[in-house]
């Protein structure tokens, strides 16, 4: 898929909302307004933002999304309700998971986003089984660590065997908490997928690169191992390094500073108003 100016803007706007949201959650955790463990996706939001826009552009109306524990951005980018996510983080019964899901097990019935149960990588087999049973185009998000689970790998193999319409999206931030990938393994998910007979790419989270890797339809299995960066701690509100590459700042350079500033400010205002409504 080729990227147009309109597509770029749509991706940027979605990502800006996610960034503003995660920054606000960061602040709320620091203020101890949020008292449960949170898994912030700041830095990784371009993956789901790009895929959500791609799905819209491709005109895929019916799809099912399987989310991982670091899933605020995925939830928001695929249409999850902002207020319900805030309420969930505040432990309210009005939250998107009835106040039981916290940060890691969010979902949306309306948007066909399926929550994660906390077992690392379980979304792999569950998404694959659901896709087998109803043949609805499926996106399954995972981290690079959860993807190492043996059952996740098997899922890719079974999707290949059955030629299922499923895309596995590995948000590869190179870290399992703080253990780097090279300490854990000497192989790449994309190579494993190719070994299973699945089309796969090992790419960056630059939207141009992601879009260039996508077919026009979800008609068979695909795996994208997308290298990205986690800006904040594995859990909670902290910063591992202030030298981490920031895709949002980089992608903003595609636009005039006025436009980028306005989009970021509008997203920030939207999130702040939502927090005020929910508290």
């Amino acid at each position: 898929m080729l990227i147009t100016e309109d597509i770029k803007k749509r991706i940027f706007e979605k990502a800006a909302l996610c960034r503003a949201f995660e920054q606000e959650v960061f602040n709320q955790v620091r203020l101890e307004k949020i008292k449960l463990p949170v898994y912030l996706s700041a830095g990784q939001e371009y993956i789901s933002a790009t895929l959500a826009v791609a799905i819209e552009v491709l005109g895929i109306k019916e799809r099912q999304i399987f989310i991982q524990h670091r899933g605020h951005s995925t939830y928001l980018n695929f249409g999850g309700n902002l207020d319900e996510l805030i309420l969930e983080l505040l432990g309210s019964k009005m939250g998107c998971a009835n106040g039981m899901g916290g940060s890691a097990s969010i979902h949306s019935l309306r948007e066909n986003i399926f929550g994660h149960d906390g077992l690392m990588g379980s979304q792999g087999p569950i998404a694959t089984g659901m896709c087998y049973a109803n043949k609805v185009p499926t996106l399954c998000f995972t981290g690079d660590a959860a993807a190492e689970e043996d059952y996740f790998l098997t899922s890719i193999g079974w999707a290949s065997t059955k030629n299922l319409p499923i895309w596995y999206i590995v948000e590869d931030n190179n870290l399992s908490i703080l253990t780097e990938k090279k300490v854990r393994r000497n192989w790449e998910m994309s190579d494993v997928a190719i070994g299973f007979g699945v089309k796969a790419f090992n790419i960056s989270d630059d939207p141009i690169e992601i879009l260039a890797s996508l077919p026009d339809t979800i008609s068979g299995p695909l795996l994208l191992n997308i290298n990205t960066n986690r800006l904040f701690w594995h859990a909670g509100a902290g910063i591992d390094s202030d030298k981490t590459f920031d895709r949002h700042a980089d992608f903003a350079s595609n636009f005039s500073s006025d436009y980028a500033g306005n989009v970021n400010n509008a997203a920030k205002d939207l999130v702040e108003m939502a927090w005020q409504r929910c508290q």
Partner: protein, 303 residues
Amino acid sequence: MSITLRDVIKEITRRHLQDADGLAMGQCLTAVGWVGGTLPELYEESGMVELSMADVAGGGFAVGAALAGRRPMYIIRYQGFNWFNAPMIINYACKSKEIWGRPCPMFVRSIAMEGGIGPVAGSSHHAIYYRMPGIRILSPMTPNEYWVAYKEFMETDEVYYISEHRGAFPNTEELEDILFDEPDYVLLPISITRFAAQEVAKRLYEDMGIKVAVIHIFRLKPFEISAQALACLRNSRFGGCVLDDDYVDGVAKSIAYDLMAKTSINLDVLGLEDRSAGFVANVDNLPPSREKIHDLILRKIKS
């Protein structure tokens, strides 16, 4: 001709696939034997889904199929394989309705057998599931009980664990409780031990006039017992015993505890011994035999 439990399971599965848009999923289903003759000879186009040999993932595939509303029958050939198959059933399917309001109904057919099959494959392992919320556990040993289990599953949106036993597949008879107003002893058997309990009770009454009541446990979780059966247990002269085909540190002790709290009657438990099973007969670990149950009752009465 009498209908066996095997025939009933086969017919239910055929209807589930052909009339209810259901799925049957598992490993080596269509191989020789068709899971002890309990499956109709249908293939993938009819909903009989051969999974890869990856047990953990297989459980997840079935959970996904349940989320899609296909009400899968997930067939686990040996109950001990649940150590691999259970994680996503217990942690996703059983919790999905409570956490997310998404029912995930599935029918886990888990099959026990024993005798010379070693430390994992032998016996029932329903206790793996028992401690977790959101699961219903039934152990049907008769044709009618299996119909009840299936119909109940189809009328609800819950996860059912069906603790089967190959030893019951040829059975054609219904197992009725044996109740007395004032029994000498009460047996509360689960799974394959129900047949042994029934025989021992009859023999002791016929040979020695000892009144041994038998209260069959078909519903393990939530545990159910009729008022009549409970009254019988309350009047027991020498207590009773819960019999299981699993290790006693699980379902048997838990049910015994509940019943003791309700009746103040002392209950023992008999099940697998607390050791690994070997393949050879002298180191195997089998459910309580007729002799063992018989001796326990006499010992209790004499003491």
